[in-house]
Amino acid sequence: MAGTGNAHLRGEGMVLRANDINVEFKIGDKKVVKAVSGVSIDIAKGETLAVVGESGCGKSSLGKALLQLPKPTSGSVILNDVDITALHGEKLRAVRPQMQMIFQDPISSLDPRMTVRRIIEQPLKVWSDLDEQGRASRVDELLDSVGLDPAVVGSRRPYEFSGGQCQRISIARALALNPSMLICDEPVSALDVSVQAQILNLLQDMKDKFELTMMFISHDLGVVKTVSDRVMVMYLGKICEIASPDTLYKTPRHHYTHALVGSVPVADPTKKSLRSVIQGEPPSPMNPPSGCRFRTRCPAATDLCATEEPQLREMGGGNYVACHHPRA
């Protein structure tokens, strides 16, 4: 299955480049959870890379590792040509404004005791040279750009707002310092369907307006399709497949991607839903299978899959798969 491999990495000029990232947690004394194993990715300027997978695949851990919150167990992250994994203390803090994150839970992303105005002002207070007046007008500007009226919203507290509005506030805060890169960790999963669309549109608008580079983490394949330029599928800490959304969804080459795409409920009763293509439960990340991690649930697994970990290789048209026997 998904293995390490650099076939999918492009050359120079990437905003973000992550090499061989490993994220491991210790549980108790002996057990180690391998959340992310040997993942390398790169994202070009203005591109949106979507990272999809189910719970336990390591996508959130990957996002946090890129932000150095906390630093990955091993591997390097190069942001705007600077190796930030090698930085510490003041130097690391100084580069943080370049990469910001939007979180899944809109309410817990905001300090409940602060007013909206103060929340968005925080990053400006830490970094910018603006005086109080300057900060206030920048806050107004940011609130406007996310579709909120500063006069109405400014002096209120997060609990007075809906999930969608809280996400807008989070987005305004994240953009305050003009980051070059935005990592969105399941930003619309906790929102109602009708609100999801609003926030997705907003993210698209922000991306265009501020020329942002984005990494979009989600478990929802439909959501990801509308916003991304490339999609990366993860399973148990490894990459399975990377491709453009159309290619990935129409002709998934990896068996896991195929199962994932096939499991998405389609809002059309005339299309008979497939018998669920995949059985069983994912193995524990503390004890992942040898070789290809997906082989225990894969219909095409052979002996080779148990002994040798597949590397990502190109299948044409920007599609990379880590599988010994990809689908035709």
Binding site: F103, P112, Y159, A174
Partner: protein
């Protein structure tokens, strides 16, 4: 804000306001000196001529004692809880936020103090630092007072500190703290701007409860003879009045009711403070 409070809160605040008044203006009130013995009216009951709450077996006026007692009881409780909360929350929050060795030290400190029975700890400290072996050269009352306050403070520190720590841990794990870190805020900035304001409400509510607890604790100390000595506290009133319960119950009754009312009022106010400061309670 005052308008909308429930009646029990108003009563509680009212009682504590009266006590505060006594504590501050007691010496200026036209009431007899606590140590003046009305020899003609020993142990008279409540509503007697000239003594609204009666006198005790030494002839000391009960009302005067109540007023002076409120002064010292509130002083001791107020100072020890305030300082205890300050020290406890600093240690607890730092440990919770920084984790690692900080947290281990904080935990160890708290556990050690908590493992020693409170009363024994206080009595030992008072016995060592608050008494002198030479009866002709007694410890000045001010020093005794300080020792009593310090010993009670030490008891309060781990109790409030643990609460501060556990609250701080749960807040430290919230996304907005991660967001603050990702913005490049220093630990100090995050603790001051985000953690402390969110820990305060829970802590303040418990601090009110702690005041009640300390008043009772001081009472226990007085009962055991380890109180502050000369000046009257409610605890010393109870200590002195113990033996009179059979024939002159009012001597015991007055301080006990005072303590009970104060503890209930503190609890009620603490609860209300928590409710008012917690923004989530304010909505649906």
């Amino acid at each position: 804000m005052l308008r909308k409070q429930p009646i029990s809160v108003i009563l509680a605040a009212g009682w504590l306001a009266i006590l505060l008044f006594f504590a501050l203006f007691g010496p200026f009130l036209p009431i007899p000196d606590t140590l003046y013995s009305f020899e003609d009216s020993l142990s008279v009951g409540i509503f007697s001529q000239g003594h609204i709450l009666g006198t005790d077996s030494n002839g000391y006026d009960m009302f005067a004692q109540l007023v002076e007692g409120s002064r010292y009881s509130l002083l001791i409780a107020g100072i020890s809880v305030t300082i205890g909360a300050l020290i406890g929350s600093i240690v607890g929050i730092l440990g919770a936020f920084k984790q690692g060795i900080f947290d281990r030290i904080a935990n160890a400190l708290f556990s050690v103090v908590l493992s020693i029975p409170n009363l024994l700890l206080s009595i030992t400290l008072i016995a060592v630092f608050g008494t002198s072996p030479d009866p002709s050269n007694p410890v000045p009352p001010s020093r005794r007072l300080i020792v009593v306050i310090v010993s009670l403070t030490i008891v309060i520190v781990p109790i409030l500190g643990r609460i501060a720590r556990s609250t701080a841990i749960s807040w430290s794990n919230r996304d907005f703290v991660t967001a603050a870190r990702s913005m490049g805020m220093t630990d100090r900035q995050i603790i001051v701007r985000h953690i402390v304001p969110n820990v305060m409400p829970a802590l303040m509510a418990i601090a009110f409860l702690a005041i009640g607890v300390v008043i009772v604790a001081e009472g226990s100390l007085s009962l055991l003879g380890a109180g502050i000595g000369e000046k009257t506290t409610w605890g010393s009133m109870i200590a002195r009045g113990r033996s009179d319960i059979e024939y002159y119950p009012h001597i015991l009754f007055v301080p006990i009711v005072a303590v009970a009312l104060t503890v209930i009022s503190c609890n009620r106010l603490g609860d209300q403070v928590r409710r008012n400061l917690d923004p989530r309670e304010a909505r649906l």
